[in-house]
Symmetry: C2
């Protein structure tokens, strides 16, 4: 009997990772509109903000409000999960109060990146994230933990697999089994992706694995396919490929949601997703920012009969 | 003992497939400069023109001259192979006279595409191409035959695998074993790529397989990886990702050579290729056309120490 392939989970992170670099402030009303539209497309999880200090990332200042509005009964279709990023205890408190159903949090595999971002060593940051994750889990919230710079680091370059695996082991030992490996700097190539995710699956074949790639060097979709081959079932991506630096010509955004869904649908996967509606949001996002965004399918049109 | 992976062959087609859609005429001197620069990068084969009627594709009118100049002894480094596209007997005659070392030629797997391009059915076009290929082979020239629209057709949509395989069988029966499958309309997705090339390998495990993808929907590099998994050892690509339609915003060019080489080198493959020199040509090509071309790495820079 052939194995039924696992249903692939689509985690849209455009409203968080996509917007946090954008300096043009997006009004809360506009965010609400995009989120409501995306919630009707069949995407599974929408990451809509980050509980970071508003002075640090003004674009994320309305995160609490977004959760309060959108988690009210009947606002979004049944089954759509909202996720939010937290960096520390204070963020978790805010997120708990705002009713966040799923928390995302992580540490960097790079000592330099970790110290620059958190002032802590990787080991210390891991202790802290595990403590926060346990608090969220004991409150009945969903939790996904991540390892950032898992495939390389802008400061340190190569990141050895064992460094990533030692963090993953600590997550698993703490009973946290939803794990994302993030290619924060866009360094991943397909062979490294397949190798590292296979090694993680070896640690716990039952872990729920997520990948998070940036398309800085054009390898984003190739890396997603490599991840899928290694047993990854959940994919983070960003509408219109948002997430690059808006002040350069560099199209280094997240893997583009509609480009990824288009590829999946060409392969007969996730044909339930309403690609045409995602594309409409991508076009609206590009119009809002008044520039061409990295996504390709929203410009070229699709080969599938997008609805 | 681990199997030594086959050396991957890089076939640059920017000067032919990349330029033929461009209306801005590229002076012969400029082409010669680009070709000479590319010939010093370690790319294996350079496709520099097409023996089509000059009135039909004025950009290719200097193809005979390019071959005559460049095949003179000592003009290009040893070992670099020049290839040229021929469509018919007249083209072959011109190519023979111009000293073409390697001929590329093909038929479409789509009846509609075949009739529109050649006025012939697929079966008739296959007869003709096999006859031309045999002439070239018997003259001691290299020959690569292709199946165009192998993964889908702009007119007919889906192209069944069996239609492609029946053409490949005819090539193999005629003793022609260097075979390229071309995704002329950018329809290929990784699962179809892997499946079709595996089926071709099944017909003749010794055949030398080449892939030719366009990056219309962002799947180009993912398709190259899928092809490599299925045993493809030769890859056609275009410097700067040339090959899209210059009058639209659509970045639907060929797979970009320097993006592909960059990915390979991240995977430890073809580290002999001088990526930095390819990037320099890409930048010069983009400057010549005065617009941003689809390639990413020539804009972002590289993660490898490109030389």
């Amino acid at each position: 009997m052939p194995v039924t392939p696992a249903r692939l989970v689509l985690h849209e992170v455009g409203l968080r990772d996509g917007l946090q670099m954008e300096h043009a402030s997006v009004p809360t009303e506009r965010k609400l509109q995009w989120i409501k539209e995306l919630a009707e497309t069949g995407l599974d999880i929408l990451q809509i903000g980050s509980f970071v200090h508003p002075a640090k990332v003004p674009q994320m200042a309305d995160t609490d409000e977004l959760f309060r509005v959108l988690t009210a009964p009947g606002v979004l279709p049944e089954g759509v999960i909202l996720s939010g990023l937290v960096l520390n205890e204070k963020g978790l408190e805010r997120g708990m109060a705002a009713g966040v159903p799923m928390f995302c949090m992580g540490v960097s595999a790079s000592e330099t990146h970790s110290r620059k971002n958190t002032g802590m060593s990787v080991a210390e940051a891991t202790d802290r994230i595990i403590a926060i994750a346990k608090l969220a889990l004991s409150a009945g919230r969903g939790v996904q933990v991540s390892v950032q710079s898992a495939f390389g680091c802008g400061y340190e370059g190569h990141v050895p697999e064992e460094r990533v695996l030692s963090i993953v082991r600590r997550y698993l030992d703490a009973g946290i089994t939803s794990i994302s490996l993030a290619d924060t700097a866009g360094h991943a190539a397909p062979d490294a992706v397949e190798s590292l995710f296979a090694a993680v699956r070896n640690l716990d074949p039952g872990a729920e694995l997520t990948c998070h790639f940036h398309n800085t060097y054009g390898m984003g979709l190739a890396n997603c396919i490599a991840a899928q081959r290694a047993g990854v079932t959940s994919f983070e991506s960003s509408v219109a490929g948002l997430g690059g630096c808006p002040f350069t010509k560099v199209a280094g955004g997240n893997v583009c949601t509609e480009d990824f869904v288009h590829m999946l649908q060409r392969m007969g996967l996730r044909t339930d997703v309403r690609l045409g509606k995602i594309i409409a949001v991508a076009q609206d996002v590009a119009a809002f920012f008044g520039r061409e965004l990295p996504g390709m399918v929203y410009k070229t049109g699709t080969l599938t009969s997008a609805v």
